[in-house]
């Protein structure tokens, strides 16, 4: 039956004068401007390749549950030819055999044009599986006027505070009757917690998981992490930041002096504050600063009939002019290719310069492990409880046990001693 249909189908194609080849593409639904930009990028692609009879067919799916949608499509063997996915999920899809490597479709010079963080995010076991058009950054925004009112001097441009200096600044602000800090603990997505606060663990010399083993036992709740997160907990204990904020943007509304937040707030903050706005790297617990990175990136399905065609789309959508510039103009993310920065003059100034600087130096990809989703969710739950006063070591131990149980179940042979 299938063979028969295939024969009929192929015969039908053969008779057509110009064989039209369709690339099915899925994208997560972002802001309206971003969706419009995506549609325009696809439209431009279709125009450029009309002569060769190649066309993309773009579908959007809501952001929340996009991952579930992908999972169900994968299980039903109904994945599109190319799709975007959140960076930390690349390892999981590679592990399930769903992504085709991209190495062959990009040459070395092209790859060197990408931000190192994007290459790191998309590389699993030495092969490149995903590439993004943009990246992300989290910084500590500050209000110069509020700091001055409390007698706090911000660090030199491009420099960040050590944790003690950061805590001293918060104390001075509080003493001056100014609410020190916004941490966005009301964020409903678990990912915010892992993404924004992993640098606390990293800069304290720790890590979340040993991705090679993979193993969290003895890693997630180790001494360094307990020490770092105890320091982080102090922020809430001393009431420098709210554990249950009601206002989603207290910094923009002028109530709070410091904002631990992402690149997506750069435009609104600048509009609200103008010259009062400053940005510095996140405070560091050890000698080394750390920053998060990662965002949506593009991959090609391992089951696509024509990987070359799907890769053509990935090349287009990550091309500095065709893909990166229009999408970044729409969503305000950090351009993913060095050559694309020329189109964005704001990157010579703060806070944008800080975004690019940390992505090229201190930023670290979230753990590239098939168990990332579980790890992130359990770690986020632990962070919520720790912020509200839970015992740091016991709570990390619980998260460690839960994640390790999932790893052991899926990888019984590799559990180790």
């Amino acid at each position: 039956m299938v063979v028969f249909l295939l024969v009929v189908f192929l015969a039908g194609c053969g008779r057509a004068p110009v064989e039209e080849r369709v690339i099915r593409v899925w994208s997560h639904q972002g802001q309206e401007a971003e969706n419009r930009a995506m549609r325009d990028i696809a439209e431009a692609f279709n125009t450029a390749y009309a002569g060769r009879g190649i066309r993309v067919e773009l579908s959007f799916f809501p952001d929340f549950q996009y991952t579930e949608k992908l999972a169900i499509a994968a299980a039903a063997r109904d994945l599109p030819d190319a799709f975007d996915l959140d960076g930390p999920l690349v390892a999981r899809l590679v592990d399930a055999g769903l992504l085709a490597p991209l190495d062959g479709w990009f040459d070395r010079a092209e790859l060197e044009d990408f931000l190192p963080t994007l290459l790191k995010q998309g590389t699993i076991g030495g092969r490149l599986y995903a590439l993004g058009a943009f990246d992300s950054a989290v910084v500590l925004y500050y209000d110069r006027e509020l700091l001055a009112r409390a007698g706090v001097t911000p660090p030199a441009d491009g420099e960040g505070w050590a944790w003690d200096e950061f805590m001293a600044a918060c104390a001075a602000l509080q003493a001056a009757g100014i609410e020190p800090l916004a941490m966005h603990m009301d964020e409903s997505a678990d990912e915010w917690f892992t993404y924004a606060f992993s640098p606390v663990v990293w800069s304290g010399g720790g890590r979340l998981i040993d991705d090679d083993a993979p193993r969290v036992r003895g890693v997630l709740a180790d001494e360094a992490n307990v020490r770092s997160l105890r320091a982080w907990q102090q922020v809430f204990e001393k009431k420098y930041a709210a554990t249950d904020p009601v206002d989603p943007n207290p910094f923009g509304n002028g109530k709070v002096a410091l904002d631990w937040s992402g690149h997506w707030m750069a435009r609104p903050h600048q509009e609200a504050k103008g010259g009062r706005l400053g940005a510095m790297p996140l405070p560091r617990l050890g000698a080394e600063a750390a920053a998060p990175c990662g965002s949506w990136c593009w991959g090609v399905s391992a089951r696509t009939r024509d990987p070359e065609l799907a890769a053509l789309w990935v090349r287009w959508v990550t091309d500095p002019e065709q893909g990166v510039a229009p999408i970044v103009r729409a969503n305000g993310a950090v351009p993913g290719r060095r050559s694309a920065f020329a189109a964005f003059p704001e990157y010579s100034k703060q806070p944008y310069r800080q975004f690019r600087a940390q992505l090229e130096t201190t930023a670290r990809a979230r753990p590239r492990t098939p168990f990332y989703a579980t790890l992130s969710q359990r770690f986020a739950a632990a962070l919520r409880d720790i912020a509200r006063g839970a015992d740091v070591e016991a709570r990390l131990r619980q998260a460690e046990d839960e994640v390790q149980a999932v790893i052991d179940r899926r990888r019984p042979g590799e559990a180790g001693p």
């Binding site: 991952t67 579930e68 999972a71 994968a74 299980a75 063997r77 999981r92 899809l93 399930a96 055999g97 769903l98 609410e179 678990d190 709210a242 554990t243 249950d244 904020p245 009601v246 168990f371 989703a373 579980t374 969710q377 739950a381 919520r384 409880d385 509200r388 006063g389 839970a390 709570r395 619980q398 046990d401 839960e402 149980a405 999932v406 179940r409 899926r410």
Partner: protein, 296 residues
């Protein structure tokens, strides 16, 4: 049997066919699939690689601290909610069972929480339960403060979070049961009530000896449905506490959902879902059994 009846008998299967086909495709087949997967190590993203794993998933559930916590939480939630909600709804129904318009209006008021979407209610109650935060206190703590009760961290204290959510759920769901009881009250024979009144039965005696016995079927129905709904608890804790603090409000459904879509461990999730199905099915069956015996 007339010829017409015989003919009709032959036609019957054809009329049943569409319903049976739909049931087979959307209920029986998925259940069989889930049953099969629960005996494999199936991965959500690549179920075709599944290997037979015997009863490993079921045995694993027995030793899974998180699943057991979810199981215990759900059981405790049902134990808190079912009796309180049923009794409350019953007395609400008795109270508002009057013909005057004012009482009809009151019925509407009690029914409002049933109609409002649960996520909205979850946000409202999260604010109500809010402990002191930047000088602002949640309404509940402020109200208790008037009586000298110290403020409580309702949703953040592992001991209080589940009861707090149960309380909110009783408030939310009682209106629906009240409506069912109101309908049942219409079936209580007027003559019996009048006879009881003439015989000098007090209000309580009338409830105890006339109304409750004649509403047995309604009560059984309400208890059964409330139990099933209570076991399906998910939205309130998921939105209000995400199952925290420290898993103290983790529900069975949330645990199954996360095993499926976060850990993507399809085999284990199917096993957990089937255990859940057996639990709810078994309880429903037991309730019906006990109720029927009482009726005889």
């Amino acid at each position: 049997m007339t010829a017409w009846q015989r003919k009709r008998g032959r036609a019957a299967p054809w009329f049943l066919l569409p319903a049976c086909a739909l049931l087979a495709v959307f209920v029986v087949w998925p259940l069989l699939r889930a049953g099969w997967w629960s005996f494999t190590n199936a991965d959500l993203l690549s179920p075709e690689r599944a290997e037979f794993a015997g009863a490993d998933n079921y045995a694993g559930l027995a030793g899974d601290a998180r699943f057991q916590r979810a199981f215990g939480n759900t059981l405790l939630f049902a134990l808190l909610v079912v009796p309180v909600q049923t009794v409350l709804a019953f007395f609400l129904a008795l109270w508002v069972n009057r013909p005057e318009p004012a009482w009809r209006w009151l019925r509407g008021v009690f029914f409002v929480p049933v109609v409002v979407s649960m996520p909205v209610l979850a946000v409202l109650w999260t604010l109500l339960y809010q402990p002191e935060q930047g000088g602002e206190t949640g309404l509940l703590n402020a109200a208790l403060g008037v009586f000298g009760v110290p403020p409580q961290a309702w949703l953040r204290d592992p001991a209080l979070a589940l009861p707090a959510i149960a309380f909110m759920s009783v408030w939310q769901g009682a209106g629906l049961q009240m409506m069912v009881f109101l309908a049942g009250l219409q079936n209580v024979p007027k003559e019996l009530l009048e006879a009881a009144r003439i015989d000098g039965a007090s209000g309580w005696q009338r409830v105890r000896h006339v109304i409750v016995p004649s509403m047995r079927n309604t009560i059984i129905f309400v208890v059964t449905v409330t139990t099933i709904l209570a076991f399906r608890i998910f939205v309130q804790p998921y939105l209000m506490t995400r199952g925290g603090p420290g898993n103290s409000t983790l529900s069975l459904i949330q645990s199954v959902y996360e095993t499926t879509f976060v850990s993507q461990d399809l085999g284990r999730a199917c096993a957990a879902a089937l255990v859940f199905l057996a639990l709810v099915g078994g309880l429903t069956w037991l309730q019906r059994r006990l109720a029927r015996e009482e009726r005889e």
